[in-house]
């Protein structure tokens, strides 16, 4: 897609059926898996401008193994539920307008950033706990979605029953790895076997968001107004979402007393959802998370290897450090080595906009 204002003006005039004026075009600097563009436009006859979000794959191919079309499907379907998501407007793959497909959704006012949340000062503890609880309430909404009624079962790999949930994630991860891999990684086979031997039983089969938490959602004040980044959505064990969560169950110990953490967040989640997620299951799904990150790392590596001039610099980073940290974390979780330092794991999420 050509994101110059001139091309966007022509395209949106055609698509909206009336002259459109482009005010601003900005590529969102966060996110690694796909491109996100903010396009501020005024439609003919309107005095109000609006910002549209364009999502498209990276020129050398997305890091995420699932398709952009699946992401569009999730947003469209969730638009019929209570889950807060931006409304999708349309899908475009006409080669007359774009060399790779994209979709457009509305932008919901708010920010991924929550001032003070990462500040270690105890005066922000109350904010951290309030945000965590808000996130638990919204995850509960996701996990109660009628995914069968909405047609998710026809698009996603569905486990046979609650006991099959974990096995289904392992099968899916290995299928995706086989599809994208450049070279075999023996550790993937070893971990897959270990996970198959130790898979937990899910409390229920639910729609799961995938990557979630700080940086993945839109907040206005303390309210989570839009859940974003659905590219890793799945049908399975709600415990997976707690393993895929970034920062939103912070471990807070004050005067020797634990005032918040994953255990407290799970208790709160149980009180609002009625779903009992075991902390050991969350740890098990941490391995699935690591497997998925390795798949993304390998996919990024193949993109860099095959299309070095098209690949983005972040794909080169994802293909290197991210993959290593996940491999080391996996063998540590199996009791075969030491884990990478906690600081190194935290640094993976660090950005110049939100330094640690």
């Amino acid at each position: 897609m050509d994101f110059t204002p001139d091309h966007l003006r022509r395209y949106l005039t055609h698509k909206l059926g009336a002259p459109a004026e482009i005010h601003d075009v900005e590529r969102f600097s966060r996110g690694t898996s796909r491109q996100t563009w903010f396009v501020t436009v005024t439609r003919s006859g309107s005095v109000e401008s609006e910002t549209l979000i364009f999502r498209t794959d990276l020129p050398a191919g997305s890091i995420e193994p699932s398709s952009l079309e699946q992401e569009y499907f999730v947003y469209e379907r969730l638009g019929h539920t209570d889950v807060p998501v931006a409304r999708v407007l349309f899908w475009e793959d006409d080669p007359a307008w774009t060399d790779r497909p994209f979709y457009v959704r509305r932008k919901i006012e708010g920010s991924w950033n929550i001032p003070g949340f990462l500040d270690p000062d105890p005066r922000y503890d109350e904010l951290r706990i309030a945000i965590s609880q808000e996130h638990m309430r919204k995850l509960a909404l996701v996990h109660h979605v009628d995914w069968k009624g909405l047609g998710f079962g026809e698009r996603f790999a569905v486990p046979r029953d609650e006991a099959d949930c974990g096995h289904n994630y392992v099968r899916q991860a290995m299928r995706q790895f086989e599809e994208i891999r450049g070279v075999g990684l023996p550790v993937m086979l070893e971990v897959a076997e270990w996970l198959q031997d130790t898979a937990p039983v899910a409390p229920r089969i639910a729609l799961c968001k995938g990557t979630n938490g700080f940086g993945e959602e839109v907040f206005r004040g303390r309210e989570l107004v839009a859940m974003s980044d659905w590219e890793e959505a799945s049908i399975g064990d709600p415990a997976a979402d707690f393993a895929f969560m970034q920062y939103f169950a912070p471990e807070l110990t004050r005067d020797g007393k634990q005032i918040w953490g994953l255990a407290q967040a799970l208790d709160y989640y149980r009180s609002v959802s009625g779903i009992d997620v075991a902390i050991d299951s969350v740890r098990w799904y941490g391995m699935i998370r690591a497997m998925r990150l390795i798949i993304m790392s390998e996919k990024a590596g193949v993109a860099v290897h095959e299309h070095p001039a098209l690949a983005e610099i972040r794909q080169a980073w994802t293909a290197t450090e991210v993959g290593y940290v996940c491999r080391q974390s996996m063998i540590a979780a199996m009791g075969l080595s030491s884990p990478p330092p906690a600081s190194a794991l935290a640094e993976l999420h660090e950005t110049i906009e939100a330094p640690l």
């Binding site: 590529r27 600097s29 690694t32 450049g182 070279v183 075999g184 990684l185 023996p186 550790v187 086979l189 070893e190 076997e193 610099i313 972040r314 080169a316 980073w317 290197t320 450090e321 290593y324 940290v325 491999r327 080391q328 063998i331 075969l336 080595s337 990478p340 330092p341 600081s343 190194a344 640094e347 993976l348 660090e350 950005t351 110049i352 906009e353 330094p355």
Partner: protein, 168 residues
């Protein structure tokens, strides 16, 4: 003989990025990309210095592990399979010819692919041979290789990235 080493050059390039390029960047996307570029430049520097030995060690370990896989299958009357083929294909290198990091990486990748296939085959045999001591010993050998290889990877990744600021 060029006095300036590749390490010198990478250090000077990085200093130029900090001194001249970074201050001129107004938008967050550019500054984020530059942060990633600087990390990767440092990674390239560490790899130039250390990866040759890491790859040589890895190739030797892979050959040794594949030899054990091949011997196991022969001892059980199986077809020796991909492990033996990979070992045959990995001819002894000409000691008089310089081998670049790319050459070494290509050889290591081919051997690792063979080990991947060999492990998949062994996993398929687990239901019938899982209690066999030779089978268990071979699986332990492969597991030890995997751990050693990842830890070696850490020796070039950790000093290049850890504790050096935001990656993006």
């Amino acid at each position: 003989m060029i006095t300036v080493t590749t390490t010198d050059l990478l250090n000077t390039i990085d200093a130029a990025l900090v001194q001249y390029v970074e201050p001129s960047l107004g938008d967050i996307g550019g500054r984020s990309a530059l942060a990633t570029v600087r990390h990767l430049l440092h990674f390239v520097q560490v790899r130039i210095e250390r990866e040759g030995q890491v790859l040589l060690d890895d190739i030797a370990a892979l050959k040794s592990t594949l030899t054990e896989v091949s011997s196991y299958h022969r001892s059980t009357g199986d077809d020796a399979g991909a492990a033996a083929e990979a070992l045959d294909a990995a001819a002894a290198p000409d000691a008089t010819k310089y081998r670049s990091l790319n050459d070494l990486a290509i050889e290591a990748r081919a051997l690792r692919e063979a080990l991947y296939k060999a492990l998949a085959r062994l996993q398929a045999l687990r239901a019938t041979r899982g209690d066999n001591p030779q089978y268990k010993a071979l699986r332990a050998t492969i597991r030890a290789y995997i751990v050693r290889q990842i830890e070696q990877e850490g020796e070039i990744v950790a000093p290049a990235f850890f504790g050096r600021g935001p990656r993006r």
